[in-house]
């Protein structure tokens, strides 16, 4: 590794980790210790109470992780189910139609979705989707579809035409062609799209807040907003920090496992079109 790389690398890692490490530190301190100043401050005020508070809530913390995972998995599944055929279909269109649709999808992908939650709430009430975890997957999938379709279409575009032609000549129908030939080649792109969708639905807040009110159905960000101090005016920094750390662990694991797919998936043609 060259001489300039190491300090830059450390700087990059520090920049990414510092606020998180500070959250870790804050989570282990009592509220009084947070305001102590001077050298002696670090010798006292350590506690696991914040973690105890977060983990002993009712319902238990792992319940929120489970809910978020369920919704994330459902959203990802639904998005891929709809996006893969759509991307394939889009790629096979005439260039004019393809361009127009891609532009429309791009416009949608860039829309600040926080503005949509009010109208989506009306839909939810009209269709009776409140307080149902799996129903959340529908708006999440809808919001993720434009980006997913665009990414997957670019990945399809990268595949050589001869491959599919050969498969067609062998007598495979569309479904078989997809399953046996195209999708395995698309695996990295699919993985990276899946991660993007999963992360979006894991972190989403306004829609989850308004669609779900039952305590045992809450997803993680909404549940964290309900970590209470002793009064409506108290801000429990320590407890929030503990919840951040606990909530980050599965994400860290996920990202560790899939980081190669994310990068290589994006490599395979995020940018065509």
């Amino acid at each position: 590794m060259s001489r300039t790389s190491l300090p830059l690398l450390l700087a990059a890692l520090g920049w990414s980790l510092m606020p998180l490490l500070w959250q870790l530190l804050t989570s282990l301190r009592t509220a009084e210790a947070l305001v102590l100043q001077g050298a002696g401050a670090w010798l006292q005020g350590w506690t696991l109470d914040n973690y105890r508070l977060v983990l002993q809530g009712d319902p238990p913390f792992w319940r929120y992780l489970l809910n978020s995972s369920l919704v994330g998995a459902a959203s990802t599944g639904l998005t891929l189910l709809l996006a893969i055929p759509a991307a394939y279909g889009l790629q096979r269109q005439r260039p004019a139609l393809r361009g127009a649709l891609s532009l429309a999808l791009l416009a949608a992908a860039m829309f600040p979705y926080v503005l949509l939650f009010l109208a989506l709430l009306e839909l939810a009430r009209a269709l009776g989707w409140g307080n149902q975890l799996l129903a959340l997957a529908l708006p999440y999938a809808g919001l993720s579809l434009p980006l997913a379709v665009l990414l997957l279409r670019a990945a399809f575009a990268d595949l050589p035409e001869e491959l599919e032609d050969a498969a067609r000549l062998e007598g495979l129908n569309l479904w078989q062609r997809l399953r046996r030939v195209l999708l395995p080649l698309l695996a990295p792109a699919i993985a990276s799209t899946a991660i993007l969708v999963f992360l979006f639905s894991w972190n989403e807040y306004p829609i989850a807040l308004t669609w779900i009110s039952r305590a045992d159905l809450l997803t993680l960000p909404v549940a964290m907003a309900r970590i209470a101090g002793s009064s409506v005016y108290a801000v429990p920094y320590g407890a929030f920090a503990a919840a951040t750390v606990l909530g980050a662990l599965p994400l860290l694991a996920l990202v560790l496992v899939f980081q190669r797919q994310i990068v290589s998936g994006l490599t395979q043609g995020a940018v065509k079109g």
Binding site: E122, A126, R226, I227, A228
Partner: protein, 425 residues
């Protein structure tokens, strides 16, 4: 497989089928007996998480004692505004899952004008508030109807350091002088810490100072006329900005909320703090640097900040919900909440109770303060009025503009808002 095994295998499915049938019968029997009795009526309440936690033992006891009526409390978000969002989202399309909502005092006219609340006089009688402290009775009635029963009645108070002075200040001027002295001598970095962030807390702080100078937010008697350009209002704005400019209150106040103020005062860095009654219990906790060295006093009309229960229109069981509401805010529950969590009781009898006073040393101060509080304007457009005031004050506190200009602009915009509101306000 040997021939002898066959008959054995043949028996299995039949045995399994019989077992399943038996289980089904047992299940049906249990379900039947369950269905035979009347399902208990469930009244669902939405309240912020801290309140939900505090009232949980009470609610559990109620549910144990009443078989036919159960209370289901939904823990809302910690943050006041987030709770409002959740409630409003629930209400926007009519069909809401909640019967009761624990509301902040400033929401009442807005929710009532939006048609989301059920008037309470038919269900609870016209004298539902009789027996409550004067300060607690404010903010519950609007446009000729009663909309909410108060559960806790807070007001702004001044906290002072008993180890830094012998007697607390009695007027704003004394407060300022005392704070200036202590800050000037370097005893504390913050002479006086208050909520200066651009949010509702700033409006509360300003209202108290305004009342201290004898001014009003809305002209008394004429509810559609703001009085923010009066000499008193300008003087109040000048006083508040003056605290920052003279260094009595550091500029960091522009991002201080209740929690931040409590942190600063609790670390011993301030001589005075403006905050709600909850801060007292926090400051007495073992880790606090100022435990046992804090006094509380009311300098006059503190801003009233009460939380109360309202019934949402469209509730399926209004009678039962009203009963729950009455129980929740009744004297017995109030006493329990006061004893265990230090919640300010709304009942005059509790405020005068000597036994309670032994457990709540703060009670005399609360009693005196609740005799007269400052109510924020009771109008559906209060949020806009407060927003206008916050913007001007925040600009003033951070050093731009003059008090006259700021208040003139606040007055102008408030007039526009109230004019548009017209008869509804």
């Amino acid at each position: 497989m040997s021939a002898g095994a066959q008959p054995h295998l043949n028996h299995r499915p039949r045995q399994r089928g019989l077992a399943a049938l038996a289980a089904l019968l047992v299940l049906l029997f249990c379900a039947g007996t369950g269905l035979a009795g009347p399902r208990p009526v469930e009244v669902s309440v939405l309240m912020p998480a801290p309140f939900a936690d505090a009232t949980a033992p009470l609610v559990a006891a109620f549910n144990r004692d009443h078989r036919d009526l159960q209370i289901a409390v939904t823990r809302g978000p910690l943050d006041t505004e987030a709770l409002s969002d959740l409630a409003i989202s629930s209400l926007l399309l009519g069909d809401t899952p909640y019967d009761l909502l624990l509301m902040d005092v400033t929401w009442t006219p807005k929710y009532a004008a939006a048609g989301w609340l059920e008037p309470l006089e038919p269900l609870l009688g016209a004298d539902a508030l009789a027996g409550m402290a004067p300060g607690a009775q404010l903010g519950n009635a609007f446009a000729g109807h009663l909309w909410r029963l108060p559960l806790v009645a807070d007001m702004g108070l001044i906290y002072w350091r008993t180890d830094l002075m012998r007697v607390p200040p009695r007027t704003l001027q004394e407060l300022r002088d005392s704070a200036a002295q202590l800050e000037g001598r370097g005893v504390v970095p913050w002479g006086y810490v208050w909520q200066g962030r651009q949010y509702e807390g700033l409006s509360c702080v300003f209202l108290e100072v305004l009342r201290g100078f004898g001014g009003h937010w809305l002209r008394p008697g004429e509810e559609h006329e703001p009085a923010l350009d009066s000499p008193e209002a300008i003087a109040a704005a000048r006083w508040l900005a003056g605290l920052v400019r003279s260094g009595i209150t550091p500029e960091a106040v522009a991002n201080v909320s209740e929690a931040d103020a409590l942190q600063i005062f609790g670390a011993g860095e301030a001589a005075f703090m403006r905050n709600w009654p909850y801060a007292w219990a926090e400051l007495q906790k073992p880790g606090s640097a100022v435990a046992g060295r804090v006094g509380v006093v009311s300098l006059g009309d503190g801003t009233q900040g009460s939380w109360g229960l309202s019934m949402l229109k469209g509730s399926a069981h209004p009678q039962q919900a009203a009963a729950v509401m009455r129980w929740f805010t009744g004297e017995a529950s109030s006493r329990e909440l006061a004893e265990r969590y230090g919640y300010t009781p709304v009942w005059q009898s509790l405020l005068n109770d000597p036994q309670l006073q032994q457990q709540l040393p703060l009670l005399p101060v609360l009693r005196q303060a609740l005799a007269s509080t400052a109510l924020r304007p009771l109008t559906p457009v209060y949020a806009q009025l407060s927003d206008v005031l916050q913007r001007q004050l925040s600009a003033l506190i951070t050093g731009s503009g003059s008090p006259e200009a700021a208040m003139a602009e606040a007055q102008r915009q408030s007039q526009l808002i109230l004019q548009a509101a017209g008869p509804v306000a």
